[in-house]
Symmetry: C2
Subunit: 188 residues, 2 copies
């Protein structure tokens, strides 16, 4: 059982819920399951790309016995909300002053640019200082183009991103931000 107020309080005192075994990926999956079960959106995590080099049939069912992790060329999550294509990634940093860009590969940035160009919504969910931000892909592209810095300062994220307040069921209701940004009305 989760108590949102408690989580909020803890996050303020810098004890992240991640320490309690509730990491960002878990909470996103929980939110996506909530959206699916309640017929709000269809959003899912893309499988990890694995280059299968050897398959065994020894146990009746095919089984991968040799596989290489391939580098991702897209983002982790893809989905559909009210006719809009969503594509995003979740990133967490323990750094308290900035978010290092080294975690985002150049082909992922190219992917974000393409998604925006073709009318989709691309964004990052950034966990920093015990807070969670919706950071628009457009702002990321702008920052990289204009700033030429290796990390995004916390204050920049605070200013250009949108804080996701922890709530109850789902704990991180990130579609609320998309609703406000793209559909201009509150869902509840």
């Amino acid at each position: 059982m989760l108590y949102p107020n408690k989580i909020k309080k803890e996050s303020k005192s810098n004890i992240s819920y991640a320490n309690r075994g509730m990491d960002l990926e878990y909470l996103i999956n929980e939110a996506n399951k909530y959206y699916l079960d309640n017929d709000i959106a269809v959003i899912y995590k893309k499988p990890t790309p694995i280059q299968i080099n050897k398959v065994s049939f020894a146990k009746g069912m095919p089984e991968v016995v040799k596989g290489k992790f391939n580098q991702k060329s897209t983002l982790d999550y893809v989905g559909l909300y009210k006719g809009k294509y969503l594509d995003f990634d979740a990133k967490k940093t323990l750094n308290k002053t900035s978010f290092p860009l080294e975690n985002i590969h150049s082909h992922q940035i190219k992917h974000i640019e393409r998604i925006i160009k073709h009318g989709g919504i691309a964004f990052l969910l950034i966990e920093i200082c015990g807070e969670l931000y919706y950071f628009p892909g457009e702002k990321l592209i702008d920052f990289i183009r204009l700033e030429k810095r290796k990390s995004i300062p916390y204050n920049y994220i605070k200013e250009h991103g949108y804080m996701i307040k922890y709530s109850y069921c789902p704990v991180i209701d990130y579609l609320k931000i998309i609703e406000q940004l793209y559909f201009k009305k509150e869902r509840d």
Copy 2:
């Protein structure tokens, strides 16, 4: 080098291009690469879902040494075209009179229903009798709901689907159908 006329001729005489090592998946990937390179759309194949049970670090780089193939709960391809969310699967049958529905799992049908409900475009690319059809998800749902049959007759596919004529670069330009169905103007 591909000669579309030759391929068309051959397909008519029931010698599928699949026999020449150009299977449907290859041609879809080729089309998707063309769309990406020419900045027309962003469409990609989802990685095969593999449940990783054991990873070895013996060779320096992490390597999967035990992995199970999970059943797909979505379709094979996902993408974005002119702001529209696309989700589709490619199916081929050697059966000349009908397309057996046993190849589509019930959770994939549920997925198609959800995509349509939330404003996305879901469809199948069906290769049958040496011809390729764009078969709308709506027609598939209708057929399953109304007909209660175990396979879709070839004539039904011909009547309710849209034949994709083989062309040159890409060989199967399936976005042409989407353009006609959803944007009501010819792209070329």
